[in-house]
């Protein structure tokens, strides 16, 4: 059986405590995963300064070259996996086996990660506003004649990762090029991607001290976030809430991403149907950047019907089918609980589940022995309990809202696609702290430009600027 060890400063360590990652459908054990005890994590993180020193010694440009090489290794090479190895195809199959993600979606996420690793210069350029990378080497430099200095806010970035979608790993991927060691706690069903990314970095020549990989229980994740100067946590509200007030930790909870169509564009709504469908369905609706709401000033019913017509055609397919668009739930109970929540919220209200009418069947489906939640479109008013909800499958509510109520009515929105040329509305959206990422025009919410910060700017999370002056050394001349 495959055994995935911990990586302690890059070195494999086989724990006596193990967890089993199981096949989402058969329940067969796909891998045994070593589990880190909290004390071990804490002990390793007592040596953070030396891990950071190992990365700090390497020029940023060299680290970027390492990242580019890692992109190729991640995508193409057979890499170590515990005591065995893993080809790219095995990675896709193993990832699919424990998360239910169809191969095609796994490959798309793989490509996302490759892009970020390969384009790390552009990504970091975007995050730093094209700061000369030598500033990271020296700690100071000059930009447009102005002296500047940046210092790292931490010796390690600790990340508590989810199992829902491997695309999120693209978010921490630039950390190595930013000279920041990593302590990663993978999601219990997705130990594969971070392990493979670390192996790609090591093969590319990154120092092994820079990588900690600690599959663990909840307490282990807490320990990582407590001990690292900077952290990221992914998960539902219950997981992320304890960290909401901790500025050291960047919280990646539900996104409540949305599409808004302005009064000026609403009569051309059919032109935007592709963008709407992609925003809701891509990646099986599992990402925080998937749209969970379509907010319009009028014609909500027509839009809901058309979107439902499109989404009702999406049905379960085999994991290896290139056309597969939705993933099953690894845990059947979760699908049933989510479905029951939706039923409860719909009961006794004027809201209408439009997809059910189109499909002629319920949203819960069994296929090849797996439990699916089929794409769901709900037509409701803005006060309804389902108007601003996010679930772990393609779900969207279509809501009518007067343009004048935007953006306040939206609430927190990680990605907002605004289809309008109304300058007054755009001005309000641009000024709103409720909107994390703003796409103007019919850009699907799931399209990420990696030179743009996503849910926080990693560079600004890891580095801070200090006031800096330097007296010219006259004696040297």
């Amino acid at each position: 059986m495959i055994h995935i060890p911990l990586l302690r400063r890059g070195k494999p360590y086989r724990s006596l405590d193990t967890a089993r990652a199981k096949h989402y459908r058969t329940g067969e054990v796909v891998a045994e995963v070593s589990q880190a005890n909290s004390g071990l994590i804490r002990r390793d993180l007592m040596g953070q300064a030396s891990a950071r020193a190992a990365l700090a010694r390497i020029p940023a440009r060299e680290l970027m070259a390492i990242s580019r090489r890692a992109a190729r290794h991640f995508m193409e090479d057979e890499l170590p996996l515990g005591e065995t190895t893993q080809t790219p195809q095995q990675y896709v199959e193993q990832l699919s086996a424990t998360t239910g993600l169809p191969y095609a979606m796994a490959r798309r996420n793989m490509e996302k990660i490759r892009t970020v690793l390969d384009k790390v210069d552009e990504v970091i350029g975007g995050l730093t506003r094209h700061l000369d990378p030598r500033v990271l080497d020296e700690g100071f430099g000059e930009e447009g004649g102005t002296a500047m200095s940046y210092y790292p806010c931490a010796d390690t970035l600790g990340v508590v990762l989810p199992s829902n979608s491997p695309g999120v790993h693209a978010l921490w991927a630039p950390a190595t090029a930013l000279k920041m060691p990593l302590a990663l706690k993978p999601g219990s069903a997705e130990p594969w991607t971070p392990y493979r990314m670390i192996q790609a970095f090591l093969k590319a020549g990154a120092p092994e001290e820079a990588f900690g990989y600690y599959p663990a229980d909840h307490a282990g994740g807490t320990e990582i976030l407590r001990q690292c100067g900077r952290g990221m946590v992914f998960g539902d509200t219950a997981t992320t809430k304890p960290w909401a007030g901790d500025r050291r930790v960047e919280v990646h909870g539900p996104g409540y991403s949305k599409i808004v169509i302005g009064e000026d564009a609403i009569d051309r709504w059919e032109e935007y149907l592709d963008a709407m469908a992609a925003s809701v369905v891509e990646n099986s609706g599992r990402s925080c950047v998937n749209a969970s709401g379509i907010w319009v000033p009028r014609r909500a019913e027509e839009i809901a019907e058309a979107l439902a017509e499109r989404l009702a055609r999406v049905m379960p397919r085999d994991a290896a089918d290139e056309e597969a668009q939705i993933a099953p739930f690894a845990n059947r109970d979760v699908a049933e609980r989510i479905s029951a929540m939706i039923d409860q919220d719909l009961a006794g209200t004027a809201a209408r589940e439009v997809t059910a009418e189109r499909r002629g069947s319920g949203r819960l489906a069994d296929w090849q022995g797996s439990r699916y939640l089929l794409p769901t479109v709900v037509l409701c008013d803005r006060e309804h309990a389902l108007a601003n909800r996010e679930f772990l499958f393609p779900f969207a509510s279509v809501v009518e809202v007067p343009e004048s109520a935007l953006p306040e009515a939206l609430g927190h929105t990680l990605v907002l696609t605004a289809i309008t040329e109304n300058q007054e509305l755009l001005r309000r959206l641009l000024a709103s702290p409720l909107v994390g990422r703003l796409n103007i025009g019919a850009i699907p919410t799931v399209r990420i430009a990696w030179d743009q910060p996503h849910e926080g700017n990693l560079f600004e999370h890891l580095y801070a600027r200090r006031a800096f002056q330097r007296k010219e050394d006259r004696t040297a001349a």
């Binding site: 006596l16 405590d17 589990q35 005890n37 004390g39 071990l40 804490r42 002990r43 304890p242």
Partner: protein, 367 residues
């Protein structure tokens, strides 16, 4: 081991297991006779017997007969009056009351007279002299309050000719802090405890033996090398201990200081760990202090069935002392059933941990 030696060992062990079992059965008859005698028994069991249509003193002839009582109910120990547990035979003696951790509502109470001293004196015989020297002083860093542990460890130290220094930790407050989401405050409380322990160790050279909980041990070792502080033996318990923790402690925390993991509680007494052996791969194997207490591993669905050796099941405790009679109590733990060994010719348990179906409901904290 040669085949011939294995056969010899089998017969020797069979004989020893048989002897231990006969001693247990005789002890069961003596304890039952005491607890159900109107002159010596406690009100709880005498009332209980009055409602039976059979006489325990006649019917209970061996350990297996204790099944006639069914399972001991945990609720019987929650709330008062606590005096219903005091045997009339000890009516004139000073009585202690000890409580369980209190992680799940009203704590269970157990009365005690000398049991904790007897249990720890028996345990003392198993401690290696070179690591727990006679006359050495002890430091106990852990829960005191209403628990048996403080008096027991202190008695252990005194019994071995030492003096016990104490640093208290209130586990109920710690757990409450965690439940309130006050992680940082819980952490500060932990370091407050550790600081006190370090102060005592630095001030008193005679401290060579330590009792603490796994989490506190980790915290201490983050600050100092216990070996350099003069500690020779560590007696560790109070919360779940995994094989991984055991290995981590031995390989990375202790610099060779002797580590004695223990499993005990207010209701049972104190189990002794099997000395570490390479073939056990850091599994933590405990044996109960038979015949005063027995630990069995039973089928959670049919608790009357003891599982096979190596099989996982729920831990069932039976306490058999003249102070306290507790037949067949289903603990909140699970484990694997372990075969008898030379030192302990009765069943043991391997890798005790919280019983999975109840696990999510308990916050363990540092205690």
């Amino acid at each position: 081991m040669s085949f011939r030696r294995r056969v010899q060992y089998f017969y020797v062990m069979k004989e020893r297991v048989g002897e231990a079992r006969r001693a247990l059965d005789a002890w069961v008859r003596e304890v039952v006779a005491w607890h159900f005698d109107p002159a010596t028994g406690c009100p709880f069991w005498l009332d209980y017997a009055a409602r039976l249509d059979w006489d325990p003193r006649k019917e209970i002839r061996a350990y297996d007969d204790l099944g006639m009582f069914g399972n001991f109910q945990d609720e019987w120990l929650r709330g008062g009056p606590v005096r219903r547990w005091v045997p009339k035979g000890y009516a004139e003696r000073p009585v202690y009351v000890f409580e369980t951790g209190g992680t799940t509502g009203v704590p269970k109470s157990r009365i005690n007279i000398d049991d904790f001293r007897i249990d720890y004196e028996i345990f003392s015989e198993r401690l290696p002299e070179e690591h727990f020297p006679k006359g050495a002083d002890w430091l106990m860093v852990g829960p005191t309050g209403p628990r048996r542990l403080r008096l027991a460890v202190e008695h252990l130290a005194q019994h071995r000719g030492g003096i016990c220094f104490l640093v208290d930790l209130d586990p109920r407050w710690f757990i409450k802090l965690l439940k309130m989401g006050e992680r940082e405050m819980a952490e500060r409380y932990k370091w407050h405890v550790i600081d006190q322990a370090l102060t005592l160790m630095r001030a008193h050279d005679g401290i060579q033996c330590l009792f603490t909980t796994p989490r506190l041990l980790e915290a201490l070792c983050e600050k100092v090398s216990l070996k350099k502080m003069g500690i020779k033996g560590i007696f560790c318990g109070g919360t779940e201990m995994t094989p991984q923790f055991h290995r981590f402690a031995v390989e990375e925390l202790l610099d060779g200081v002797y580590f004695a993991p223990t499993y005990g509680n207010t209701l049972m007494g104190l189990a002794t760990h099997k000395p570490p052996a390479p073939e056990d791969n850091y599994a933590i194997i405990y044996y109960p202090p038979a015949p005063r207490a027995m630990i069995e591993v039973v089928d959670p669905e049919r608790p009357e069935r003891v599982v096979e050796y190596g099989e996982t099941g729920r831990v069932r405790l039976t306490t058999l002392t003249k102070e306290f009679f507790m037949p067949r109590f289903l603990e909140r733990d699970e484990a694997e059933r372990e075969v008898p060994c030379e030192a302990y010719p009765w069943d043991g348990v391997r890798n005790v941990r919280p019983f999975a179906p109840l696990q999510t409901k308990v916050v363990e904290g540092v205690y």
